[in-house]
Amino acid sequence: MTAAAGGNPLVEGLERLPVGPTTLTIFGATGDLARRKLLPALYNLAHDGALPERFNLIGVSRGDESHDAYRAMAREAICRFSRRRPDPKVLDALLENVRYVAGTFGEAETYARLGELLAEFDEVDGVPLNRAFYLSTSPAFFPVIVEQLGAHGLARHDHAEVRVIIEKPFGTNGREARELNRRVLSVFEEPQVFRIDHYLGKETVQNVMAFRFANGLFEPIWNRNYIDRVEITAAEDVGIGTRAGYYDAAGALRDLVQNHLLQLLCLLCMEPPVRFQADEVRDEKVKVLRAITPPAPEHTVRARYTAGTEGGEDVPGYLEEEGVPPDSQTETYAALRLEVDNWRWNGVPFYLRTGKRLARKVTEIAITLKPVPHLAFEQAGSVGVQPNQLVYTVQPNEGVSLSLGAKIPGTRMAIRPVQMEFLYGTAFMSQSPEAYERLITDAMRGDATLFTRNDEVEAQWRVIDPILDAWAAGEPPLDTYEAGSQGPDTASRIMDPGDRWRAI
């Protein structure tokens, strides 16, 4: 055989690696996430032939549904939210192996019935199937479900793998995250646990690593000697919609900064891993998080939107949104100035910001290089020489652009910035799979590279906790910004002299 001893010689050259036979159980199976994302993702994996050769799905939720009623709901959700029109034959075949367990998550009987169904699937398929439990519920149920799974002997399965996939948020502060880790890890081993940060499943986020580590051009300048500052922005033009209940308890800092923006910062700052393997990548990310000193309150900004105009339409302020308490102190905008105190990045400011109801939707990393040390050209009559800026856009126009100084045609040596632009959409034929398709497959295969490890989550909260404490004490005060704007005017307060935010 041509493969290493013990390996599967048949997988070489295959784009899709095999996934072991699995029964996937979704807790919160009738919820919004399941309907909009998980069920359509499973259909698309089925369509592409990317599910395990034997695959069963069990939905667990409180609603008193029959198997058939749940299948009908799943069919409707898939037809409505799938990125492609379902093939009826594939959809029928997928739904054939779908079952439903009605019950509350704290009730022992729910798990007894679940255990019976899991055993039935094993019996029908004639092999012990891997089991994956997807916790797509309110975070309050995460420890309850995990402990019930343990109590009913469902955290282990002879001759097969058992994995648990936990949705965000993983705690609302460091203490809760540590406690949740403790309770989860009292039932499961860390390699069995897959904490979702769906940002990591996005192709363009993974491309940050490809861009850094597959191009020799950037590494020599990727440090404090050449990089002046970094801005990471996740701006949304929409409000909170119908998510007031969740959002008002979370706020912008917990919703996006604690997980997504810190992940982007890690990918940008980490040292090259020796191999692209789960623990090697995550070890490097944890080192970055540990090198961050939590920012002082004066290096943070919090604000909420007031009524304004978005796309020519009048929109209400946050306090006028349906379901938001009138005395809410929740921020819809957060900005931080961080430093990564290590050899590579010492002294480079990292500005992170996120907000709802901003001027437009964009997620990007902007890296500004230091200016040239001496300029022989006259600046009069032009906008002048600007430092080079490398902008990595995660969404919506995925790509990379580099601003360069170029001579304006004419008799004088006048310079202006020009853009060298690369757009992913023009360079690849493939449609990116949804993040959840990638993450579900990886979890079923046991590949944790794109999932957050326990120490990583805790290291994220170590940065965020002091900010939450300061904000709870009113430091700095909650500011406001007009919906549809660039954010609060005070956002520039955290910037070093001479720095200013890029326009959103």
């Binding site: 095999p18 036979p21 089925a46 032939g49 050769e53 034997r54 594939v90 075949a93 919506p396 690849f428």
Partner: protein, 358 residues
């Protein structure tokens, strides 16, 4: 799915030259950026150079139009007409109506040149100015035109072929091997076997099953009567991946081909059986028997592959391996996409297949 086209800008000229075509295309691209779809950006992924018989040009254009999102960014279609002495050309810039989620739209270029047989020996000088420099170039000649492929190979890195088009099994493999020595080959016959290869790999992937790989005693591949080459490539893949030394296949009375391969633990019986009931090109099914008497059978079915496992003691399990049929347009689209990838297992499989039919 056929891509929707929001707007086409077209130029046509009789008795033209490559320089005039290239200049016209540049003009069209500038106009498309400043016209109705000012945000349209030319895609820059792949040049596809296709050589076809003039009388079948429309059919090939239809096939190319139906590959969904896997359009080459620039297609140069050369339609050869035996007695033609001049070049007529049409250049079209298509702007896709279905914008990227960001609102960005991409444009792709489609050139059709009617050329004469006399042009074929100088085809490289006609095509060279028309492909985008630095992009990979793929060649495809679905109606043969081996001389045109030979002439254009120095311009290209990838050759697309469908070995199933060649009726003689030995000739099909010989042609593919000859091309594979000079360029990277994407063979649609090979891509037809991809789901089957994935499923065989998956069936033997659990550690408990992997040990059985060394005990495989017989493999039968069933195929559309025109697709024996897809079947023999699958057998070649198993031989190459599992270290079997294949022997020659011999014809049986029932029109199947049968042979043996030498594996470390003994011989493996290999059978290639036509399946006249199979309505479309490609594979119809396969059966793998292992030394302990377990039989794994995969056949095309509703919504995927129908799988059956029978043990020596008569235990029988059946299930469906989910997956949608790609259809012929999907296979061609996949072939175009594969121009950007490299599969290291095709050539060893091809070499092993060639040994079986030698």
């Amino acid at each position: 799915m056929t891509a929707l086209v929001a707007s086409d800008r077209t130029w046509f000229e009789r008795d033209t030259t490559p320089a005039a075509i290239e200049a016209a295309l540049r003009r069209l691209l500038v106009e498309s950026r400043h016209g109705e779809h000012s945000g349209a950006i030319p895609a820059r992924v792949l040049n596809l150079v296709t050589v076809v018989d003039r009388q079948w040009r429309g059919e090939i254009e239809n096939r190319l139009e139906r590959v969904g999102r896997y359009h080459a960014s620039r297609t140069v279609l050369l339609a050869v007409e035996p007695r033609r002495t001049t070049i007529d050309a049409r250049a079209t810039v298509h702007v896709d109506a279905e914008p990227h989620p960001s609102g960005m739209t991409t444009a792709r270029e489609h050139l059709v040149l009617d050329v004469g047989a006399e042009h074929v020996e100088h085809l490289a000088t006609i095509v060279d100015p028309l492909v985008v420099t630095d992009l990979p170039t793929m060649l495809w000649a679905p109606h043969g035109h081996a001389e045109a492929i030979d002439e254009l190979l120095p311009l290209a890195q990838v050759v697309l072929l469908d070995s199933v088009d060649e009726p003689d099994l030995e000739d099909a493999l010989a042609r593919a091997r000859a091309l594979a020595r000079r360029a990277y080959v994407v063979d649609l016959a090979w891509l037809r076997s991809t789901p089957w290869r994935e499923r065989i790999a998956g069936a033997f992937d659990p550690p408990a099953e992997r040990a059985r790989l060394a005990t495989i005693a017989a493999v039968e591949v069933r195929h559309h009567p025109d697709s024996a080459v897809a079947g023999v490539l699958l057998l070649g893949w198993l031989c190459a991946r599992l270290g079997w030394r294949p022997g020659a296949l011999a014809a049986r009375r029932d029109r199947a081909l049968e042979g043996r391969a030498r594996a470390r633990r003994g011989e493996v019986r290999l059978v290639l059986r036509p399946a006249p009931e199979q309505p479309v090109r490609g594979l119809a099914g396969l059966t793998i028997e292992t030394g302990d008497g377990t039989v794994l059978r995969l056949d095309r079915g509703e919504g995927g592959l129908r799988a059956e496992r029978v043990t020596r003691r008569g235990g029988r399990r059946t299930w469906t391996v989910l997956g949608a049929s790609r259809g012929e347009p999907g296979i061609l689209g996949e072939g175009i996409r594969q121009a950007l990838l490299r599969d290291p297992t095709y050539r060893p499989a091809l070499d092993a297949a060639a040994e079986m039919v030698a």
